[in-house]
Amino acid sequence: MENLSKDHSVRGGGFQAAVIGVSAGGVAVLPCLLGTLAADFALAMVIVQHLHPIQDDYFIERLGRACRLPVREAEEKERVQAGVIYLAPPNYHLLIEMDRTFSLCVGEKVNFSRPSIDVLFETAAEAFGAGLIGVILTGASRDGAAGLRQVSSKGGLAVVQDPQSAEYPAMPLAALEETRADYVCNIEEIGRLLCDLGSACAGTGYRTGE
């Protein structure tokens, strides 16, 4: 695993939420990523997966079966809770307010997408600042690149799937062009990283190069 900058084991964690952006190829990697999370995972996790707008609830059910934590669609005005995996509803942008509640918007598509990863990441970065982990996974678009830059500039941790290990490398590559990522690694390593940073004793004992 490549560790390019901040040493969060020294910082001792302090993370409160992780936002995940994933597009083409996500249906294969998301169950794998969520499957690695332990039952005591103490962060809120919010996912934008670009989907076809008429996608039904099947995807959420499938993720729920793969994961030890509750997986559900984010609802407007709902408070972002630790230990819950939220997905953006199809055809709505998902935003996080400063009071850490969700809101939805059906405004113009951003990067040809609604929900857009940038919209979630930019608002989450404002709400959580240095307490946020931003993760960009496989995808065939540029969505999320500007959002991850915001996460990083507000002091959060920027994690990108190693483009060589991604089914669709375009989105990780675009993110790496815009942001100096803290971690570039494959999906299993991202799972372990999140698990470690998000466990009850957040971040202690985490070493790079495992």
């Binding site: 005005k77 709505y92 935003l95 307010e97 939805l104 918007c105 059906v106 405004g107 608002t123």
Partner: protein, 275 residues
């Protein structure tokens, strides 16, 4: 003071200027998306700083009008959520047909796509001539587009597919004619539609109605404003009247929840059970 805190002050002052100068009150809008719209408007104005917009809003009415338009979301499509329109056709209209004549309030109709979608369903169900639709929005520019009922031709493919999936009974092309890059809706669809300016934030009840549609408007409001708007709908609806919200909006946590029963939980269609 951090840059974010300064921006918060700028936004508060700007919203105050808009409210005092033009009467539009955005203070209780959900802040994150409002902020995004403000920033994207600023970007279109050569990255104009928010604090410089304040004198512009006060002194330049055309700037004020553009900003107010920029703060409202007018993205819409015909037969958005096709299954919602199927539920209206199958579950709501048979009930409404028990009335000799009904009034419908479509609140926050933006550019009118969903108003004419409803008109088509009513017409196909042989009920349109017994209805009046009040279509309202606070955005005058959007209302002008709704009055014209002319939409980009390249949107028709999506509208047609939505219409078919909603259980439409005809060829969608029966409802419009194309000219250049535009599709002009059949003028007959407008005949029972009254389009008027109404602001859910500041205006009151104007009529007794049997059906209220207000879809994807409440998501932009905070709890206080949501309760205000729902209060208006509640005061407008007759006993047994129907309230239809956007599929991600809910009555569940509102003050009026206990006076309504769900007709379709998935599509957020409710029936009023009190007088």
């Amino acid at each position: 003071m951090r840059a974010e805190q300064i921006e918060e002050i700028e936004i508060a002052l700007l919203l105050d200027a808009i409210r005092k100068r033009y009467g539009y009150d955005f203070r209780n809008y959900a802040r994150a998306s409002l902020k995004r719209r403000l920033r994207s408007f600023a970007a279109q104005q050569d990255r104009m700083p928010l604090s410089r917009m304040i004198p512009a809003v006060l002194q330049d009415e055309s700037f004020g009008a553009r900003l107010i338009h920029g703060l409202s979301v007018t993205v819409s499509e015909m037969f958005r959520d096709p299954a919602f329109y199927a539920a209206i056709r199958e579950q709501v209209i048979p009930y409404l047909k028990t009335y000799p004549f009904i009034r419908i309030w479509h609140a926050g109709c933006a550019t009118g796509e969903e108003v004419y979608s409803l008109a088509i369903v009513l017409q196909e169900e042989g009920f349109y001539d017994r209805t009046t639709i009040f279509a309202t929005d606070f955005n005058e520019q959007a209302l002008d587009r709704a009055r014209e009922a002319i939409y980009p031709l390249d949107a028709m493919k999506n509208f047609t597919s939505n219409y078919q999936r909603s259980g439409g009974r005809r060829a969608f092309s029966d409802y419009y004619r194309s000219g250049y890059d535009a599709a002009i809706l059949d003028a007959g669809l407008k005949r029972n539609v009254t389009i008027a300016n109404h602001n859910l934030v500041t205006d009151g009840v104007f009529s007794e109605v049997h059906l209220v549609l207000c879809r994807n408007v409440l998501i932009y409001f905070d709890q206080t404003l949501q309760n205000r708007a729902l209060g208006l709908f509640n005061d407008s609806l007759v006993h047994g009247g129907i309230l239809a919200l956007g599929s991600k909006e809910t009555l569940q946590y509102s003050r009026i929840a206990e006076d309504y029963k769900p007709l379709s939980s998935k599509w957020k269609i409710y029936q009023k059970t009190t007088a």
